[in-house]
């Protein structure tokens, strides 16, 4: 095989810039090119993500959310990758991307309203350049690809990143998105968080490929792997892909190897399909601990700063809690308001009937 084609294949090992004990690998291919502030910011985002994530689980347990999909253990993958995007870049999430949302400054309360069932979506995707959470698996990969094709047609330098899971790589839509992205040279990064499971199904049931990154070559797209519990590796590998896309060199497929430490969602019982040992092992590879050690070694984190960040995170979580706790329902009028961009009178009768009913109920009470 020609050298060119070999470059589409991932190297044997995922890129790792921090060892599990937090010491830097010092890989000359991947210099750590971040200011102290930036490094501290990565830490802050991860800690806030974790606190809000934890709060969301609590809120669900207390009946405030219908369901919640935790990103515990995936903070480095999400924060590292999202931090590599410019403010003008676009992010298309699945449903588990609280960490990416945190980096993008999305109000977590908006996301929680989706999980609460107040609205189907709440934040403004166009203003925030952060797509709506997407539940039908893999479907967002096509929206992201089309979007990236669109920015390219406009001659913009915008890069798009799309998040998907290991399970999502089995869906036909992911295949078609990679196919289109390759053919149209779309400026997009496919960021697969391989958290080892799709609900209860281990990644070995999703594909017999050596790794998910080996799928890239089948689309003429370079496949890359990074240690998804290493925020610096996640950042560096994503940044490289983003720069590549921005240069006009097309898409990249990244597999971030990580682990989903919570159950699939709050409705799931992970005890039925994985062992305590496996979980304990994953906990030992905690992304925040690893990065904290590194920062401490570099003198960028001390107890005071740690405490300050923890307080900020707790405040963020408390804010979510107070905004969500017993928040009012949405306005039933909106059931009809946005079905069509241009008003349709076909809905008038239903709307009138619903209004009548609501009025009658209010009278009775």
């Amino acid at each position: 095989m020609s050298v060119d084609h070999q470059q589409l294949l991932p190297p044997e090992d995922p890129v790792q810039l921090l060892r599990e004990d937090g010491t830097p690998v010092d890989d000359p291919a991947w210099p750590i090119d971040l200011t102290d502030d930036e490094l501290q910011q990565l830490h802050r985002w991860m800690v806030i993500t974790r606190a809000v994530d934890r709060e969301a689980i609590n809120l669900q347990r207390q009946g405030q959310l219908a369901v919640y999909a935790s990103c515990l253990g995936q903070e480095a993958a999400q924060v590292g990758s999202a931090a590599a995007m410019a403010a003008t870049d676009w992010v298309f999430p699945s449903y588990r991307e609280l960490g990416a949302a945190t980096v993008r400054g999305i109000d977590p309360i908006s996301l929680m309203h989706m999980y609460r069932g107040t609205w189907l979506a709440d934040h403004d995707p166009l203003a925030t350049r952060f797509g709506m959470l997407t539940i039908p698996i893999a479907t967002q990969t096509l929206h992201a690809t089309g979007f990236a094709m669109g920015t390219k047609l406009d001659g913009e330098s915008t890069v798009t990143i799309v998040y998907l899971g290991d399970g999502a790589t089995s869906e036909g839509d992911t295949h078609e998105a990679l196919t289109f992205a390759g053919v149209f040279g779309a400026p997009i990064v496919f960021f697969v968080q391989n958290n080892q499971y799709a609900i209860s199904v281990p990644v070995s049931r999703q594909t017999a490929a050596p790794t998910i990154a080996h799928k890239g070559i089948g689309y003429g797209i370079p496949g890359r792997r990074c240690d998804g519990n290493d925020v610096l590796a996640s950042f560096a590998v994503t940044l490289d892909a983003v720069e590549r896309a921005r240069r006009g060199d097309g898409p990249t497929l990244i597999e971030a190897v990580t682990y989903r430490r919570e159950a699939h969602t709050t409705s799931d019982d992970a005890g039925r399909y994985r062992s305590d040992d496996e979980l304990a092992d994953a906990e030992r590879r905690d992304p925040i601990e690893r990065f904290s050690r590194y920062l401490r070694d570099r003198g960028l984190l001390d107890d005071a700063r740690d405490a300050a960040v923890a307080t900020e995170a707790a405040d963020a979580a408390a804010e979510v809690r107070s905004a969500i706790y017993d928040a009012p329902h949405g306005d039933p009028e909106e059931l009809f308001a946005h079905v069509y961009a241009q008003e349709v009178h076909a809905l008038d009768e239903d709307r009138a009937r619903l209004r009548q009913r609501i009025a009658a109920t209010q009278e009775r009470s």
Partner: protein
């Protein structure tokens, strides 16, 4: 013994797999986990990973391979995890599952039973509360069944699996935990027959799956207004047993169809179109439809405004008296 619909379905699968070694159960999370609703619980332990297995996350793949497995002489019972996730398999269902027998002039049978939990009212996030039955009923070649009681859940699922035709088996997920006293194995009338669940003389309320309970609740409440409502459970949506429905409407002169799916081209449209023909001279008022609105399924906190309920059924009955 009090048995839930979920338990009855699970028992039906256990019994049918025991009886017929060609039955296979597969889908997302149906193996180790036993399904997100535990309908397939214990099957993998009991029958091994050959007969009950997890698949990759790919619905077209699940239905498409089911067709191939059927051709190889197996009797596949794949699961789609939620109503909203059958859509990636739409082409395989509509262009092949429904048409294989006809295309092959009866040579190739595809005895696939595609189990799909459906319907709303469980406070879920988007795509987990859809009622897609009209898509399947409009597609010639498919049988579509939906039980409303534990006995029917058991009997109809077994009937579906034994059938040599492809069956879309819609499980009313918000009734999974409804119990009633029943001894399994229960034997039930063929799914092709609609059943009168309650007799009455004022009006006929036609329901299926999750809305049968609503119709019965309406019938309870109607008594206070001096009305006696006849409640019919359609059970099979394709084919539709209109004879049973028409016979009832001939007597009552009033008909109300209740379903969660949006009104336009929901099952109510077909029932109304057939009744206005079959019972033209008997109808005292137009057939009423109490359904979801013609809008996407709403967020959980608003679903109560959207879903039909007993009060809306009673309003519709009242409305028939204005004619």
């Amino acid at each position: 013994m009090a048995v839930s619909i979920a338990q009855a379905l699970n028992q039906a699968l256990l019994d049918v797999m025991e009886d017929d070694p060609r039955v296979l159960v597969f889908g997302e999370d149906v193996g180790r986990l036993g399904g997100v609703f535990r309908i397939t619980d214990g099957l993998q332990q009991k029958f091994g990973t050959d007969r009950c297995f997890d698949t990759p996350l790919a619905e077209s793949g699940i239905v498409g391979t089911a067709i191939g497995l059927a051709m190889a002489g197996w009797r596949p019972v794949p699961e789609i995890q939620f109503d909203g996730f059958a859509f990636p398999a739409f082409e395989q269902i509509v262009s092949h599952l429904a048409k294989f027998t006809n295309r092959s002039r009866g040579t190739v049978r595809v005895p696939v039973t595609l189990r799909i939990p459906y319907g709303g009212g469980i406070g879920a996030i988007e795509h987990h509360s859809e009622s897609p039955e009209a898509y399947w009923v409009h597609t010639p070649g498919l049988r579509v069944m939906t039980p409303s009681t534990p006995a029917d859940a058991y009997g109809m699922l077994r009937e579906a699996i034994v059938s040599d035709d492809p069956v879309i088996f819609l499980e009313p997920k918000r009734r999974y935990w409804s119990k009633s006293d029943v001894v399994l194995p229960a034997s039930t009338p063929p799914a092709s027959r609609a059943l009168v669940r309650r007799e009455g003389r004022t009006a006929t309320v036609i329901a299926y799956g999750p809305t049968v309970r609503i119709a019965l609740d309406a019938a309870d409440a109607a008594a206070a207004r001096g009305w006696s409502l006849e409640v019919i459970d359609l059970r099979s949506l394709a084919p539709l047993d209109l004879d049973t429905v028409a016979a009832s409407v001939e007597r009552t002169g009033r008909a109300i169809v209740v379903h969660e799916a949006p009104r336009t081209l929901g099952i109510g449209a077909e029932v109304a179109a057939r009744l206005q023909e079959a019972t033209f001279y008997s109808l005292e008022a137009p057939v009423q439809r109490v359904t979801g609105f013609d809008t996407p399924y709403p967020p959980a906190r608003l679903e109560g405004f959207w879903l039909p309920d007993a009060e809306r059924v009673l309003d519709a009955v009242a409305h028939t008296f204005t004619y």
